[in-house]
Symmetry: C2
Subunit: 205 residues, 2 copies
């Protein structure tokens, strides 16, 4: 049944956009139907659990997407600083293309619903855990210790999430880029966050 899958997937993608742009409470089923072009009435067929189920699916999608995004960025990066720059480019592109409406797909829901909604809170945490693991995996592949990698991953995730908030309020990429500049400086200035090869080269000098 390819049509069922297509239409369900389109609805999840449309909901993800809306949840990121305005949040859970301001997103009505009618908006999701309009955004996905799905036939009216089909939403309860695909999501018998209603908006809550749609939010769970949109959250799972965010976890899938961030893993792909990090893997793609890693293929163009050689160290944490270049990975941060590549990831930042993609985020700013989305922010600007959406006219400062779309930063992170789940952050709005996290702030509206965590820790009140037990199920969704667990799934939000899973997205951050997947994002963290993807970043730590890259850092480790460059010879950075797991311990340093986890700390750096949390700084990267937090800085990106927060910079998206400040840039949405400013309707400008400037706060985002300033944050990224400081982040890259921070990474370059800290031996624990530099790839093992660079550390060795520096030690030899």
């Amino acid at each position: 049944m390819p049509r069922r899958t297509d239409s369900r997937s389109r609805m999840i993608h449309a909901a993800s956009e809306l949840f990121g742009q305005r949040g859970y409470h301001a997103t009505a089923f009618s908006d999701v139907i309009e955004g996905s072009g799905a036939p009216r009435g089909s939403i309860y067929f695909h999501f018998p659990g209603g908006k809550h189920e749609l939010a769970q699916e949109a959250t799972a999608l965010a976890g899938d997407e961030i893993e792909v995004t990090v893997a793609e960025a890693a293929s163009q990066a050689t160290d944490p600083a270049s990975l941060i720059r590549v990831l930042a480019e993609g985020m700013v592109q989305r922010l600007e293309a959406s006219d400062y409406k779309h930063g992170c797909s789940i952050a709005t829901m996290v702030l509206e619903l965590a820790p009140y909604d037990e199920d969704l809170t667990v799934e939000f945490d899973t997205v951050f855990a997947r994002w963290r693991a993807a970043l730590v995996g890259c850092f480790e592949s460059w010879g950075i210790t797991t311990e340093s990698g986890v700390v750096l991953a949390d700084l990267v995730m937090s800085a990106f999430e927060g910079a998206l908030i400040v840039s949405r309020a400013a309707r400008s990429p400037e706060p985002f880029w300033r944050t990224v500049d400081a982040l890259v400086d921070a990474v370059d200035g800290n031996a624990a966050f530099r790839p093992a090869a660079a550390r060795r080269a520096k030690a030899r000098r």
Copy 2:
């Protein structure tokens, strides 16, 4: 008319809590009345502009509060790293005391309403501008250049805002503290972010 002022101020404080914890859309006037102990019916007397006016006042309050918070923290700090630690202690205290419900008072509204609501978006941006200016003022007083201070201020604000999101989802202060540890390492590792006195001492060694 002290009663009018008291009751109005209590309503703004109650609204600020609720906007931070669940956001703009999920906060009803009845919740604000319940939270503030104000008499039913008084809210339109105090806020003829309705919930929107209440959100503007709560946002202005957030700007006042962050200036006081930074000034108080600065009086206990001697450099950017110690300022970050003191500010972080206060944020984690609020996060834990609220059972992971309360991070930042305006972040939830920013993600729900920026850039859609023109007036509020300007006021959100003003809060971040006041926070940035307060941080840059401290950094400058320690001999850090304005240019470096602005970049560091944006990293600090973004990292705090984002870490509050990740920690709310995790219902744990751990992501927050990991972010702060990385931030402090970052500041210590970068000569531009060190106070002038420390830079001079280091140069003399």
